[in-house]
Point group: C2
Chain length 152, copies 2
DNA sequence: ACGGATCATTGAAAAAGTCAACGATTGTTT
DNA sequence: AAACAATCGTTGACTTTTTCAATGATCCGT
């Protein structure tokens, strides 16, 4: 039950030119990160994706399911499953769209916000250990670059 | 058949705090990137993963399948499928391990290197368009940060 | 009011991931 | 040297995830 040891082996293959392929770097960091994130979120019955949905639901932005699908790069049917699960557990609610009655707005419940706060704290710790090799500045720099790459 | 238009819409939800969640940023950039990369590689009958395997096979590092699995964060059985496919198409060969006769070393064929060069060129163009919002310096900076985050 | 488009949802089919078992080989212990 | 556990690639079964087409309800432009 002690603090989980983090092995930082630098594999032989990291030397290859492939180590500069942005696509692979993203895939690898995302893969290892997802594993740790999901482990950290498991205590709250969440995974990376349901946590993301819950975060948006808690954001006050009142996202529709379509917006969630677009933003999270998911198929609309996957959003249905995620929201179903969160709704059954009382963490979010489906509300009727305001201008569009086809759309459904996902909003958090009080319990949802409570869980989200705890989960967010756990995830922050988790991500800090993942990016332990980076200084505070570099960490912020990485976020900024990723954002800029995505949305300019 | 003209140059594919790239829509750079900044979605409403990008404003949320979630836009600073490293895990989500990685997931999203990886997701959109994979789509484009796979599309670019399709002309050569490759996908992101088979391309990665081919790259390592062409690197001169003589990786074993176990090393490929570790480096690419894949299950060993997935590597079997990937190598099977590449081998059937004559792009790589399985060679006996030098110190360990259980292990199999993956090396490229001449045809494999030919295809790889073409695919790599196409992928570079593709990645440049993906990271078009970043300057040359920022592009290098991003690579460096990702590498550092992974291997210190 | 009509027709085409979009939203959430369902269900089925395809793809990907996970996992345990196996033979062959290795390294270690006795 | 003999026995033992561990590792490598492989196979096959199983679960999860992804993808896609179809549907009813609703919106929008004409």
């Amino acid at each position: 039950m002690g603090p989980q040891s983090i092995e930082v082996e630098t594999p032989r293959l990291a030397a290859a030119k492939i180590g500069s392929d942005v696509g692979l770097l993203l895939a690898k960091l995302h893969a290892t990160g997802s594993l740790l994130n999901n482990k950290a979120l498991a205590d709250y019955g969440l995974r990376e994706r349901s946590f993301s949905v819950l975060t948006l639901a808690c954001s006050g932005l009142e996202p529709t399911q379509r917006e969630l699908a677009d933003f999270l790069s998911l198929d609309p049917s996957q959003v249905v499953s995620l929201v179903d699960d969160l709704e059954h557990r009382g963490l979010v609610k489906r509300a009727q769209g305001k201008q569009d009655r086809r759309a459904k707005i996902i909003v958090s419940t009080a319990e949802g916000r409570r869980i989200h706060n705890k989960a967010r704290a756990a995830l922050e710790v988790c991500e800090q250990t993942q990016l332990a090799a980076l200084s505070e500045d570099e960490n912020a720099q990485l976020r900024a670059l990723l954002k800029k790459a995505l949305w300019g």
